[in-house]
Amino acid sequence: MKQQTIANRKSATVHSSADTGLFKRKCACGNHSSGHMECAECARRSKSAQFNRSSLASRRPTLSEMPPLAAGLIESRCGFDFNRIRLHGEQGTIQLQGHTPSGNASASPRNSERATARLHPANAELDVGLKVVRSDTAARLAALSSDGQEDEDVIKTAQVGDAGAGKAPAAPSCSYAMTYANVKTVGCSAGNCGAKIKYDVTGVTATGSGCPKLKGLQVTESVTSDSGCLPGGVTTGGGCQIVDDAGKVKAGCTDTYGLCSSADSYPAAGCTEIYTQKLSVGGVLAETRTITFKITKSKAGCSGTVTRT
């Protein structure tokens, strides 16, 4: 699945106009996004594409099937949830083909970005135009690189795209750091083996010339697990609001993460389970933490420890 997604991404090249910065969905042979005239070759290919479309539809990934980072990148560019839209690319084009209800859709502008979407009801295709002013490249690259090697292709694409646009790379715009207090570990409830860690999120510091005002931004997080001890996803707490521009987080922003289960559910030799926690400020990745649970079983019983780094 992951390999398939990467392959799809590699085959989809985004074309940008150097002087306008406008991404265009290049029609099979014409500039479909700026007009509706269709050349003969285009019409021929369109027929062929329509024939192929039904057979391909079942294996095109939706945004929800894409790695969260890639899907997030598209959404952050557009300020619009394209979750039900299928994305595919071929022969140097990138196309968004969708299941939008009907009519026109347009995404709200966010920062300096503009996104529009136009649906062609006859063939259920959606033209999407993105205009992107690249003022925040460094922050985006930082967010991309934090997700590991898999995203190198995306990073390279972004860098090439910048050069192609004829603009100098932007200076690092903003980086965030979180502050915590009252970190403590607590045990699980009676009859359960494992551990919990509890701490307060007290503040956010923002460094860089491009930082937004912090007041009102939300601190949010997503957590995944390697299921090293037990199957199942990890539940996360709700977000917390920053109450002033100094980065103070609203009082009572306490996180607790645990792994608790009956001793019998853990493997006899013990196990280690790792949660990966991604904290964001205003939707921008601020830091990544690792929460490690070690479960030890012996004749004496079962015990757990937890560390957060």
């Binding site: 699945m1 929800s64 037990l230 996803g233 539940t235 607790t256 792994l259 289960s261 493997p267």
Partner: protein, 177 residues
């Protein structure tokens, strides 16, 4: 993310199918893993969940599908899951606690489920996944009671999965909507 390659789990093609339906198609389908292992499936998960599940149960003969209390469940054909359980005293109890009590109850009453383990808590213990109050009918089948543990939240699903240790683990998950 699912830990499919984890050596502690006995993941087969049916498990992968159900997890793909949940993650890629946002389908809230609960699942009880059968003892029979299915290594290969021709059926593909899709947005048409009903069709996908029909395809699944037509190829994986050990399985059937049902709808209980408004929740879709794929489960083994084995009749143990239809066992009627009476005198269930669980009313308005937080979900994790309710499931823990119920599984402890059926483990002692239903011989075929003596290896079933209570659900773990992974992550934030105050999450609604664990704290939403649920009620079970005083009398009902096991699969019906499992579905009632999900309450009215259509994003919550349960899984019963056999661990490599041989025991079966009941656990909750949340499907992104």
């Amino acid at each position: 993310m699912n830990g499919f390659d984890n050596k502690l789990r006995q993941i087969d093609a049916v498990s992968r199918f159900i997890f793909a339906l949940r993650e890629n198609h946002r389908a809230s389908v609960s699942f009880i893993q059968a003892d029979e292992r299915v290594d290969r499936l021709e059926a593909q998960p899709s947005d048409d969940v009903d069709a996908a599940l029909r395809g699944l149960v037509s190829q994986a003969e050990a399985y059937r599908r049902t709808e209980q209390a408004g929740h879709l469940v794929v489960l083994p054909r084995a009749p143990v899951w239809d066992t009627l359980v009476a005198d269930v005293p669980i009313t308005d109890v937080p979900r994790l606690e309710a499931a823990t009590k119920y599984i402890a109850l059926i483990r002692t009453r239903v011989p075929g489920l003596s290896d079933l383990l209570e659900p773990p808590m992974k992550g934030d213990p105050s999450s609604p996944l664990y704290t939403q109050p649920v009620s079970l009918q005083p009398r009902g089948s096991i699969v019906q009671h499992f579905a009632e543990l999900l309450g009215s939240d259509r994003s919550v699903v349960f899984t019963v999965e056999r661990l490599i240790s041989g025991a079966r683990l009941f656990y909750f998950d949340q499907v992104p909507q």
